[in-house]
Symmetry: D2
Amino acid sequence: MNHEERNRLLTGMVTCRRDIHAHPEPGWMEYRTASLVAARLSALGYEVATGEQAIRSEARMGVPDAATLRFHEEKALREGVDPFWLERMKGGHTAVVGVLRGLKPGPVIALRFDMDCVEIGESDAPDHLPCQLGFSSNRSGLMHACGHDGHVAIGLGVAEMIAGRRSELAGEVRLLFQPAEEGCRGAKAMVEVGWLDGADYFLCGHIGLKSRILGEIVASVDGFLSTTKIDAMFRGKEAHAGNSPELGSNALLAACTAALHLHGISRHSEGATRVNVGMLEGGSGRNVIPGEARMKLELRGETEALNEYMARETSRILASAASMYGVSCEWETVGRGISAEGDRSLIPMIEQECAGMDTVVSFVPSIPFGASEDATFMLRKVQEQGGRGVYMLFGSPLAAGHHQSSFDFDERVLGIAAELIVRLVFACRNGAAVSDPAMHTNSKE
Amino acid sequence: MNHEERNRLLTGMVTCRRDIHAHPEPGWMEYRTASLVAARLSALGYEVATGEQAIRSEARMGVPDAATLRFHEEKALREGVDPFWLERMKGGHTAVVGVLRGLKPGPVIALRFDMDCVEIGESDAPDHLPCQLGFSSNRSGLMHACGHDGHVAIGLGVAEMIAGRRSELAGEVRLLFQPAEEGCRGAKAMVEVGWLDGADYFLCGHIGLKSRILGEIVASVDGFLSTTKIDAMFRGKEAHAGNSPELGSNALLAACTAALHLHGISRHSEGATRVNVGMLEGGSGRNVIPGEARMKLELRGETEALNEYMARETSRILASAASMYGVSCEWETVGRGISAEGDRSLIPMIEQECAGMDTVVSFVPSIPFGASEDATFMLRKVQEQGGRGVYMLFGSPLAAGHHQSSFDFDERVLGIAAELIVRLVFACRNGAAVSDPAMHTNSKE
Amino acid sequence: MNHEERNRLLTGMVTCRRDIHAHPEPGWMEYRTASLVAARLSALGYEVATGEQAIRSEARMGVPDAATLRFHEEKALREGVDPFWLERMKGGHTAVVGVLRGLKPGPVIALRFDMDCVEIGESDAPDHLPCQLGFSSNRSGLMHACGHDGHVAIGLGVAEMIAGRRSELAGEVRLLFQPAEEGCRGAKAMVEVGWLDGADYFLCGHIGLKSRILGEIVASVDGFLSTTKIDAMFRGKEAHAGNSPELGSNALLAACTAALHLHGISRHSEGATRVNVGMLEGGSGRNVIPGEARMKLELRGETEALNEYMARETSRILASAASMYGVSCEWETVGRGISAEGDRSLIPMIEQECAGMDTVVSFVPSIPFGASEDATFMLRKVQEQGGRGVYMLFGSPLAAGHHQSSFDFDERVLGIAAELIVRLVFACRNGAAVSDPAMHTNSKE
Amino acid sequence: MNHEERNRLLTGMVTCRRDIHAHPEPGWMEYRTASLVAARLSALGYEVATGEQAIRSEARMGVPDAATLRFHEEKALREGVDPFWLERMKGGHTAVVGVLRGLKPGPVIALRFDMDCVEIGESDAPDHLPCQLGFSSNRSGLMHACGHDGHVAIGLGVAEMIAGRRSELAGEVRLLFQPAEEGCRGAKAMVEVGWLDGADYFLCGHIGLKSRILGEIVASVDGFLSTTKIDAMFRGKEAHAGNSPELGSNALLAACTAALHLHGISRHSEGATRVNVGMLEGGSGRNVIPGEARMKLELRGETEALNEYMARETSRILASAASMYGVSCEWETVGRGISAEGDRSLIPMIEQECAGMDTVVSFVPSIPFGASEDATFMLRKVQEQGGRGVYMLFGSPLAAGHHQSSFDFDERVLGIAAELIVRLVFACRNGAAVSDPAMHTNSKE
């Protein structure tokens, strides 16, 4: 790719990223973003699957209620989103898959890009670049503060570049644009439709995180924690706190009790675990025994078994805290990520491709993560059927950390990431990745 | 008062009540209501005090922040509120006092009516009368669910009737229209300006509560609990709950701890106490160690000393819960009510006036209350200087309990209450109230 | 009674009290004391019932295990207790009843004296009178620190005086020497045998408490709190706290949780309640997840219903705290007292008899109590069948409060109390008590 | 060593072990055991240091109060312990060091054997071997349930064997008989006197633990957790729980609060941590607000920094829990162990010596531990000055786990352990240990 072509592509990706940044959409309601992606992939010649073809409805987690979905669907319509795509996605089926088949046989390569924003208001500080340049969020309380706007732009850039080299393509490329990564809600439901079936390679990555230098590439992030996200609702009975406190059943104190005891779950000798009650709210009026309380929490474990241990303890604690105050507690799993490790055998191939890019200034073979991602469902699925995959980091300085209101990245990372992914797609095609054939006997090459 | 006159007055009060019901305003932001009251009193010939003449600025509790006040001031302007009055009330000084002096010397009689709404959304059920008749709240999340709309209507009805009998008036009548009764925030600040100074009688009342029969009058509510309302804010440090939980300082767990231990404050052998954490919320994201949590709570005691005991314990618990988690906690008193008892020596006079009203079908001398009201500051002030007072109930069936979204009362209670108050005002004038002169040597009569 | 006679009796009571003081016996193990009482009553001509004739075995609460009972039985034997009585009392049946019937018909009068000591070590301070005079407890960890040694002495003094006036006696006198008053464990089981059946009067009293002046008599203590005493045992699973903490089920944390939440049971609008976890212990070694924890607690309520409310809440909390930590919890009621009020109609009779005693210097008709006693089962039983009763206080200065290691009283109170009781017995006989015949139509007089 | 000699030595060790087993002594009160050791070492020709020559008085942790020490000293006297040694050890200075110097220069080798028993009652089950053979504990509540009786026997066996080969000895052997290993209380204070100064090798081991096969040797236990043992005392104010609960300051609830929150200390991203409140007790009587509560707890961390983190959190929590209830809390460190790793470079030497012993049937180079030991202070001290050391396991089947009342081991392990240690002592002397000279440049060889 020559300099000029690179510039043109980068310009396109930047424009795309800024448009998406200005219109952040939370998980399962990425109607505008997904429609835009679907239309673009279609225009580039990809076979496009969306709606329930792209995601299994019942396997989705943490889907908002119908009214909220409808509100965002109507908003999308008002904003001019193409009803053709919108109709297919209604009800929170905002996944999009684009498939491009090469002329020759070759490996199946799955790429994943996430699309949802974060529920946080964007900074309006004058020195916040999106404000300066006029592309900051136009939706109060919503912001692309985790870089998924960039991921979508990278995905579409990659789509364009691969389409441009279709004649060289062997095998099949699947671009998975996933909704609801925040809270680990969407990946599993795409896996369950079968979009990773038969995939030989899985490539995925994230802007920033622990890689804060422009031009740095981390080939493989390891040590994803298995995680379960839970929403719990305590329901008791209100009563006047002065006249007749004994008639109430205090849902708020039940929730507080649960929170404290959850953080007291015993450490486990077999490895690291985590628990966090990230949000809790309850009560209606100062002089009313609280009749309701809600809690958002997450559990993690270094292994599936450890996460399971945390989940078992949590169930018992939620139920017991409720019964302590004579209230009910209902909870549901609204997100899941599993533990996973990237395939180290892919690192040499990535290093080699990086070596060919003058924009890459630093290469890190692998780093531990200590957090969770639901791309692990895809990675694990591919590995289980004999394929290989990695979760990369695309380095960029950040104006502020992820999920903060002044978050921003250096847009030049978009070009670097897209180019690297395209190189890897074609490197996989050429068999360069198969450094140890014994590890990958399933390959169609 | 003849039947026709009664009907005319009642019609006026009903119209007034419905107008106010449709425009509910929360405490310290009753700009529209108070302007309407001030204009009306003025038109009826009352000397009108408002703004800082009616309420001591620094003695107000639980005043919203400047931006919220401004928002409601602008809204009032847009709704056509007279800038003359609005200007005087700006910054949350929404008290109004109307004074009418008789031609002859006589007692000083203070009457109190509260004006604020409740922060609750009104029912939109078709069988909810305000919906049927088209006067339900036009402001989402706000509703006159405690009958203060009726109190204002009664107050203006009383104002009109007394003005109509000015020639008979001896002494002085002071109509106190109080902001911010909800949360016990406004009365003390009106007392501190001096509006109860020299008052010989204090009359006050409430629609409904424990009196649910139309035509029932409770002459004196007793056993008001002393109360303190507190807002507490815990501030810690956020951290990623997966990567580095140990870097956080968990403000939410501190708040939960405080809530549990507040409810565990030891019972007191000298009488009843109460504590309620009515609202608690904290945390930002599921995967973030919560950096902030807020709590609204209230304390009560049968006596001032018991309420003080609860307050001392609360201070220690809030501070200790914060230090337990290495976070800070700031709290402030946002409301206060004191314990008080009505003057039983006034009951015979009230019974006598009720006997003269064919609309009164049931008379109850006194009942215990078990809740709190800040009218007690006014009642206590009058008693301290040798005067007497009562807090009455004006019976009415209710569509739903107070502070519930389907709350509604029988509007005929407005006429009954207004007539009774006017009768009492003139009865006091005639000295009928002074059943035991030894108890009231300070009287100016 | 002349001065000399009084002196002789007092000397006897003092000797008796000191002997018992030196040999304190805890509840259900008063083998020596009860044998001594039984022998004495028998010698004075009373019909004596003891063992299961005096107390219903299954109705006893908080009885120690068989080994402990046996240990005390053997100790009693070694100390020379008459095997005749001991044999009858074995297994913790240490109640004694002495009955004396008059020659003429008349009322049935029940008197109650409690016999057990407190589980507290006695002070060995040189200025502690029992040390000075050489009659301090010879049993480590046990002490008559609540004056029951005095009560037994009074009871035997009364027995002697009545026996001496047998010819004057009409009706029947029943002297109930009750075991296990501490913890409210013994009275109910004596009632269940029927010893209060048909009783017209019930007289009972306590040295000291709120009456600290020698010569003061309080005629009626009121406001006994209903109470339930509970022992709870949590059983979990031990595990090495370093190697495998997750394998344990933490019984100690369950108990701590229960303790905190018990103290947080909501206040009740209908009256005073109390809860106290008076003792808690758990765990085996520092590095072992605690597998067991024990808790002693008590509940109280101004009424039976309030005490029931506390008991219901307690059951739920104990069960929930256990399930919170995956441990079991078993609990049993080891003591019960009920609420009761003395009969005010007896006060004039008591006042009159006091007036006749130059040793009585102060008379208090009644005072509220705010604590619990199981004599209330007897009082209530008598009242239910139309009889009347009181719980008196016999004033005395105290060297230290009840249940403290330096507790001691002025022994002159023994003579005053005994004389008053005897006077009342004969006053009842003479019908003097029946001040209001309408209140007592059941009387056999 | 021939078979006969082996048998003779084993018989002696068994006799010694059984004698010590029958007379268990808790930490700092091993007067009988230590006297016996001192006498024996002296008889074998060792220079013996004891009392404050062997242990630094102020550096000892968790020393019982003077009365308890005196009680055990008197008991030892009564049991015939030689007053010569006892006098030197009084006040809890029960460490003994025996030094034997070779005729030629050579390395300094320190060996450590611990002597204290566990505070647990020994099983009296007929199938418990010490009962069958008549050497079970003659002290109620005390038992050698961790094998230290065996360690002492091994130590004396080693002492005898080395003394028997004195002519071959080069350098210096120091036998450290340590008191108070349970609770990690004694090692540091021996280090501080200087007994590890200049040591080139440190050899130590334990019977059983994770090695349950007779004839198995684990050359190096790794991953000792750093630990801090803390005793905390809460002091509040008692009050009658019925009459005046508000006058109390509840020390028990403060302790319960501390326990719950200690278990809720946030997990740390840098490694494993542990916390356990192993014992808690508080309160005096059921109807008394508890005025005192005691707590024994321990903290652990994979590294010193992690243990420090736990200690910081603990300090804050203890102080905050106390202030929550208006009580005081004092706490002290009563034990400390540090993290440490054995020197892997010694493993080949150990393997080689094991290979020469037909009694060794299984060799394990190293295993992780996950618990704590204060021998780590000695190991670390030696390593800091350039020396090397290991903590071995001497395999044995166990009748029940360590610290259980039926604990017992196969006495044949005594012979195997002693022989291995002696072989290692002479192997070190011969320089066999220095497999990698670069790692041990400080060596005096």
